[in-house]
Each structure stands twice: as C-alpha cells, then as structure tokens.
C-alpha cells in the first residue's frame, strides 16, 4: 500500500470523494470515520436529510446488495450497521429540527418467546434511514404489547420478527387478534425472519413477507403509498 493510500484526510476530500470514501468506510464498518464524515458534511452545509440519504443510506445499499448476493456476510453487515448507527446518532436530532420528509410510522417488535433482534434492528435502522418514524418494542412481545402500541402510536405499519420455527406461528396469534378486534385493516402488517417465507406470510394474513431490511423498506414505501392513495380516492 502506498503512503498516499494509508493517510486519507477526510476533511481534505471534496464532497464527491468524501461520500465515496464514506461508502468504503461503511462497507468496512468504520464507525469513527463515518461519524467524522457526517460532521464534515454538516460543517459544509449539507442538510441532515441529504447526508442521511446520499452518504449513509447510499452506502448501506451497497452493503445490502452485497449481502443479498453472498459477497458480504452477517458479521460484516453488523459492523456496517454499527457504523451507520454512529452517523444516525448525530443526525437524528437534527433531522427532527430541520423537518425532513416523513414517509410514515412503524411499530416493530420480535414476537413472544423470541429474543432475537438482529434482523429487527437492521430493519428499524434502515426504515429510519428511509424516513420512517420507528417505534421499536424490542423482544419477546405478547399480543397485548403489540395492540397497546398500535393504539398509542397509530402507526401505518406493524412489523413482526421471529427467528425460531417455534415462535413464528405467534405472528398469526397477533393478526387473528387484530381481526377479532376489527383493527386488521387499519394497519399494514409486514413480517420477517430467517425461517419465514412468502407462503407463510400469506397463510397467516400478513400484507407481505420481507426477506431482508432492504426489501422491508421498499415494501413499506410501496404499501404506504398505496394506502395513502386509496385513502385519497375514498
């Protein structure tokens, strides 16, 4: 490696090169470098929303694509997500202040009996990156916890996650209870988790199964937009 390659001074890069370097740093899971890059772009007058979408989400899209294609694996994705989280931590309060566009609101949680939250946390982060407000209920959620959150938060979307074959049927318990209470059609229901598939999503009455965080974001955008359009025509 040449000396020039060893010492990249982020503040000396122009905007395009800095964003490109941030893509590389996200890919390599370099949290401190991402935080530095975000602060430099803020100092240069970039809006928080522009930094989020162009530098962070843009970089995570590459990570997501390479994960889907089997080039990157879970540990690397987690490191990249951790780096993005560092950037988001700086941007989040500023996004609220500067009135960034809001795509919708999601309540998300891992189902009862299940403590696995890696996938759920990735979805939460990418949904926030895409402009959704996310209320994360955490792990091991009983149907009552979901219903209380739907009542209190009035989201557009309910997201449920499960990693275990033994816990994934609980999603149907939640959906069936929503049907019983006449609330099912008030929300878009997205489900995800390693043992799930599209057929399972359909069988339990979810609106969609999302195989990864990127698909969750795209599906959420499409269904929220459709829901709003339907609302407008009624």
């Amino acid at each position: 490696m040449s000396e020039e390659e060893e010492d990249i001074i982020l503040s000396e890069l122009d905007d395009d090169d800095l964003v490109a370097q941030m893509f590389d740093d996200l890919y390599d899971g370099l949290k401190e470098e991402i935080e530095e890059g975000v602060n430099i772009l803020l100092e240069r007058g970039w809006t928080p929303y522009k930094i989020l979408t162009e530098a962070l989400v843009g970089g995570m899209k590459i990570v997501g694509d390479d994960f889907r294609d089997g080039i990157l694996f879970v540990p690397e994705v987690l490191l990249a997500a951790n780096a993005m989280k560092g950037g988001m931590y700086i941007l989040k309060p500023l996004l609220a202040e500067t009135g960034a566009p809001r795509m919708g609101k999601m309540v998300i949680g891992t189902v009862k009996g299940d403590i696995h939250d890696i996938g759920k946390n990735l979805v939460s982060m990418m949904m926030e990156g895409a402009g959704f407000e996310v209320v994360d209920l955490g792990i091991n959620n009983a149907v009552e916890a979901y219903l209380e959150a739907l009542e209190a938060e009035e989201p557009d979307i309910l997201g449920m996650s499960a990693l275990l074959t033994t816990t994934m049927p609980y999603m149907k318990v939640v959906i069936d209870t929503m049907i019983e209470q006449g609330k099912r059609d008030d929300f878009i229901v997205l489900v995800g988790g390693a043992p799930l598939n599209e057929e399972f999503g359909r069988a339990i009455g979810a609106d969609a199964y999302c195989r990864d965080a990127a698909v969750a974001v795209e599906t959420a955008k499409t269904l929220v937009s459709r829901k709003h359009n339907q609302g407008a025509t009624v």
Binding site: V74, P75, L78, L79, T165, A194
Partner: protein, 230 residues
C-alpha cells in the same frame, strides 16, 4: 448412563468407520452399505449417534447417508438438499426416513417430505429431540434466553458458532449476538468429561452461565427404533 450411550462408549473401536467431525461438517457421510430395506437421510451432526444405534441394535437392514452438518447454519438450503438426496436414492430402497428436525426451515422440510411421501423426525431442532420433544417444549417458555449445544455442537463450537458469527475476527459483536442470552445448556448425549469442559469453556467465551443435562439419544433412539421395526 443410558444403555445406548454405555454401548457406544464400550464399542468405540467398531465405530471407527465414522469420519472425523470436520468431514461430517463439510462433506457429510457417503452412503453406508449398498442396498438395504430402509435408508436414513440424516444431518452429519447425527452420524455418530445413528451409527452407534445401528450397531447396538444390529440394524443390518438400515443404510445411512448424511448431508454436511454445516447446513445447520444455512437452513434455507436444507430442504432442497434433502429432497435431492431422497430423490437420488428412493428407487433402491423400500423406505426412506429423514433424520432432520425442522432445523429452521420454517416447516418447509416437513412439507417437502410430505410431498415426497417420506417421514421425518418430529421437533424443531436436534437438541429438542435429544432432550425429548415433549420435555423440551414444556421447558421452552422458561428457557427463551438459553443457548443449546449437543455433543456434536460442543465439539464443533468454533466451526458452527464462533467463526461463522465472525467472533474470531470481531469479538466486539459478542453482545450483539448474545446480549439477550443468559445461559448455555449442554444437552449431553455421552458421559465425556473432556467434552463437558469444552462446553463449559464455550459458555465462558459467550459470557453465559453453564448447565449440563444428560439426555442420551432421547427421541432419536425411539424414532429410529420405530422405523427400523416397521
């Protein structure tokens, strides 16, 4: 000690045909025997226990083929691989029995077996049927923060857990993966002090408390005995 475990311990040299754990992990086990009445299509992680049961019970009419145990880490590939193996061998056997639990396939393996007209062992995972599916299910609500190892997984902890999760390269991810776990339960198929220590060491590395439960072969023994009889 349960009879099958005692037998396996006393007759270890006869089981010398079993490949080492690395081979069972990466390649599985090639078909044993040429043609028998019953073929077991199994996970490589179960090869030792199945061969021990086969030899102990004199099941000469039972052949065995094992898929690579590492499929455990990519459950989305299990159903297809099992189906291919069943299809490749079905003309040569009266019956085929699939020695996999659901193993994270989300019911797809069960559905595929039904479609192929073959039976499989019930239960969510091998650690469930080793403990006994009924007992495992009864405990499950109280053990959601428990991580399980079997004999095979204790021996192959690095290959199945530590390295695939990247903890050898990125130890800072430990809390991301195991932050909600509290206990490691080693469901032991054998009485092996060295292996118990290995399992205990795994618990320490993961920052979890440790418990050992001797299970023997559990439902695996009863299910295979039932298949071998019919």
């Amino acid at each position: 000690m349960l009879p099958e475990t005692l037998w396996a311990a006393r007759n270890a040299p006869r089981c010398a045909m079993i490949p080492d754990d690395e081979t069972l992990t990466e390649a599985g086990l090639a078909l044993t025997g040429a043609r028998a009445r019953l073929l077991l299509v199994a996970c490589g992680a179960l090869a030792r226990e199945i061969i021990a049961l086969k030899e102990m019970n004199g099941w000469d009419h039972v052949d065995l083929v094992c898929l690579p145990a590492i499929l455990h880490n990519t459950p989305d590939r299990i159903t297809e691989r099992v189906a291919e193996t069943v299809t490749a061998h079905r003309d040569r056997y009266d019956r085929i029995f699939v020695v996999y639990a659901d193993c994270g396939t989300g019911g797809q393996l069960w559905e595929k077996c039904r479609e192929l007209g073959v039976e499989m062992i019930p239960g969510p995972h091998c650690y469930s049927f080793f403990e006994g599916n009924t007992a495992f299910a009864a405990r499950s609500e109280d053990e959601i923060t428990t991580f399980y190892l079997t004999d095979f997984l204790a021996r192959q902890f690095d290959a199945f857990v530590w390295k695939p999760l990247g903890l050898d390269r990125h130890p800072q991810l430990l809390d991301t993966y195991f932050g909600h776990y509290e206990k490691l339960v080693y469901l032991a198929q054998s009485e092996d002090d060295a292996l118990t220590e290995k399992a205990r060491e795994a618990a320490t590395r993961l920052g979890l408390s440790f418990e050992r439960r001797f299970t023997g072969y559990g439902d695996l023994a009863t299910q295979l005995a039932k298949q071998a009889r019919t």
